[in-house]
Symmetry: C2
């Protein structure tokens, strides 16, 4: 008979230990975007290796072209069942702007939130907190039953927040051992609300670039040169402004050709979720819907592409006035993609769009950063069915099938390179302030997440 | 008979002393825009007081609402002639970006330029170097003849580079003593070319503002919120882009109502100067004319308004990619003005233009910095005639009457508050890199400028 009841009891009695390990993990500032944190990324990987070995796994650091990855194995009950691959990432977003944090981003702090205790720290939920949900479940199975009821593989990478640039090559290199798995379990998405679990069935893709525009050979006096010399800030502003029209439609040629309309059952299913846009915006101090005009909010968030300027800079940004025409201007621009949109094709189109608007005497470079195709996961696989049973048992209500506006590039890579589908079972909430100052994770979400993963392991081992 | 020949000879023999005092002045980092340089501004004012006392003036620091001013008197020959007011400014632009300087901005360095020796330093020409031209002339007259051949007043302010915000109140307060002067002599403009002296007959005005746009209550994840929440960088880019059209015309309602057309004699006179736009742009690494389409370059530079974004910033500007929608975005925007354009009316119009484009849930502030009305100085005054004689005698060719794209707010203030016209006799060159890294002043320009001022003093005293 299943040891699940004991495992769940063990989890409930282990809260203090779980918090201690979770906080140790959060104290490591493993920011993958910033070169001076490379050693911290390696420390986070080493911490995970120790954690996985402590629960009976064979675990090691595996080098990539960038930040190292962690790979681990557990034979489970040794019944020869095909393993399940658990994926997560130990890297986190930069914590800037630091001054907006109410507690230091890498000193995890337990506070009281609207729905009970929360942990505030960079990575609290994305993805260290979500990784802790399945690590805690595996540890409980290890302590109660000597290991999980199903063989597991673990892959934790350190470059998800910069678009997993090294991961495809890594999956190619280790495909032989990794593709033995029957499916991938990923916890890097949100619940529908604090009471309602969710499985994400679709993820938007992403294409991210930086535009560097260079005009005069030096900064110029705006009096002597105003009206005579190209102002790269004026021009860059025009270029990024022209990327979208007054209705929020992106103006790259053919951009919407591969974007499917949302209709029929899907449209009805999303309507039935009763999404409250006013409350969603109110939580961030806004009230006016943005994005494409005339579309429903969940369609805009889950099924439509976007173009956001993520950063812009140029000229004099100090106090007071300086009458200068800058020599250069820069912008970081990213697109969220859906349907069959191809990130590289979008970046090709962006580069052509930009270069067509730059005069002959200016120089422009378009640097390409992260890119990821959109993904739709099958809703009817055995593993999704198992996850839905586990969530229903834990929360006492059915999980809803939702989309996610965010991107998890590796999900598409798992399918393309390893031929594996993923189960996106996540425990974040919309108000977790992911990528923002004061990122948090509800303690209840972490514990119910751990219990849900304990149940999923039982389902997968049955 | 005039002692002018001895004065000119004295100047020629005093080059080393002049350079020593000039370099001492340049070593003081009197940056008025940056609060941490307030003490340096006061040091520069004190240095001037000592310099003026050494040449027989009664001189003192006078407090203003901002950086202190320097006021000095010299009775001249005591013949009761009405005095001439010399104006200059000791403050300089910020030196940023420091890394682009080939020598430290506040360690003046003598180098070899295309037309002989040059001094490289912040303020080398604007305006410390130009102030040195008339200080050196007055010192030579003092050493040769015990003083200048005409009574002089001196006013050197410390806020010209931030738009002289305190000067009008200062002129009001001291109008009684200052308005006794017959005219103002200002050296803060350029020659036509290294061989051709110039008197500037028109200055563009300026209106400078900072736009601060605030959207969500925190930075947002561009995946979860892209297509849902206002992106203030996208919006600010659209707003500044809409300030000008594809032909470079500024789109503020009624903006051109007070802008006169250039025609007839003036148009012909400027044509006759044979301005080489290709060379002007080539000197700064450009080749494509900017500004309003279909207008002659000198008309665009001297007689047309402009709109330049002097700085812009928002979101993530570090290395790599961060998928964030920023909570705020900022831009510094300035207009050069001509004809009867009113700076405050232009800023009112800008504020309305911006606010009309911001949705109800965003907050925008338009901070007003410097503003100055355009100025046209009379070309037929006795003092302008005297200056033209002095320049013709020094350079062996007639001075040309030119415009200046830049602004000297105080010239309009002198007329409005003191009823005094100005003579704009300057010795800068277009390639002096004013307001830019590696600002320079040709040594020949400084010495011929000093000799020209010695001659002007003789003309005014005749």
């Amino acid at each position: 008979m299943s040891r699940l009841p004991e495992v769940l009891a063990r989890l409930d009695s282990a809260e203090a230990e779980i918090r201690g390990r979770y906080f140790d993990f959060l104290r490591i500032p493993s920011v993958s975007a910033q070169p001076d944190h490379a050693a911290d990324c390696r420390r986070a990987a080493a911490w995970l290796v120790e954690e996985l070995r402590a629960i009976g796994c064979t675990a090691e650091i595996r080098e990539t072209r960038g930040q190292p990855a962690v790979v681990a194995y557990h034979p489970g009950p040794g019944n020869g069942a095909s393993p399940v691959l658990y994926y997560g990432h130990y890297d986190v977003q930069p914590a800037e702007p630091f001054e907006l944090w109410t507690s230091p981003p890498f000193e995890p702090t337990l506070k009281e939130g609207p729905n009970g205790p929360i942990t505030v720290a960079r990575g609290a939920v994305d993805d260290k907190g979500q990784v802790m949900t399945w690590l805690a479940a595996m540890r409980a199975w290890h302590e109660v039953a000597g290991g999980p009821p199903v063989p597991v593989r673990v892959l934790v990478e350190g470059e998800e927040e910069i678009g997993s640039p090294s991961l495809d090559a890594f999956l190619d290199q280790h495909a032989g051992e990794l593709k033995q798995a029957r499916a991938v379990v990923v916890s890097d998405t949100n619940m529908w609300d604090p009471q309602t679990p969710a499985i994400s069935a679709r993820l938007r893709g992403m294409a991210y670039a930086q535009i560097d525009l260079y005009a005069a050979s030096r900064d110029l006096h705006s009096g002597l040169y105003g009206g005579m010399a190209l102002n790269p800030i004026n021009l860059l502003s025009k270029i990024v402004a022209e990327l979208t029209d007054a209705n929020g439609r992106i103006q790259l040629p053919g951009f919407y050709d591969a974007v499917p309309e949302v209709g029929g059952n899907l449209d009805a299913a999303w309507d039935s979720l009763g999404f409250d846009e006013g409350r969603f915006l109110g939580d961030i101090g806004l009230s006016v819907p943005a994005g494409e005009k005339g579309l429903k909010p969940l369609v805009r968030q889950w099924a439509r592409p976007t173009c956001d300027v993520n950063g812009i800079w140029g000229g004099y940004t100090g106090p007071g006035s300086k009458t200068v025409i800058a020599a250069e201007a820069h912008a970081k621009v990213s697109f969220r993609l859906v349907g069959d949109q191809d990130p590289e094709a979008v970046l090709d189109s962006l580069e052509a769009f930009v270069k067509a608007r730059v005069p002959a005497d200016a120089r422009v470079e378009v640097q390409r950063f992260a890119s990821a195709p959109p993904v739709v996961v099958p809703e009817d696989s055995d593993e999704v069915a198992a996850a839905r049973r586990a969530l229903a048992a834990e929360y006492g209500r059915e999980a809803v099938l939702i989309g996610s506006g965010g991107s998890i590039p590796v999900v598409e890579s798992f399918r393309r390179i390893l031929g594996l589908d993923s189960v996106l079972m996540g425990f974040g909430l919309n108000d977790d302030q992911v990528h923002s100052p004061n990122e948090k994770f509800d303690w209840a979400c972490l514990m119910h997440g751990a219990r849900s993963h304990a149940r999923l392991l039982a389902e997968l081992g049955a």
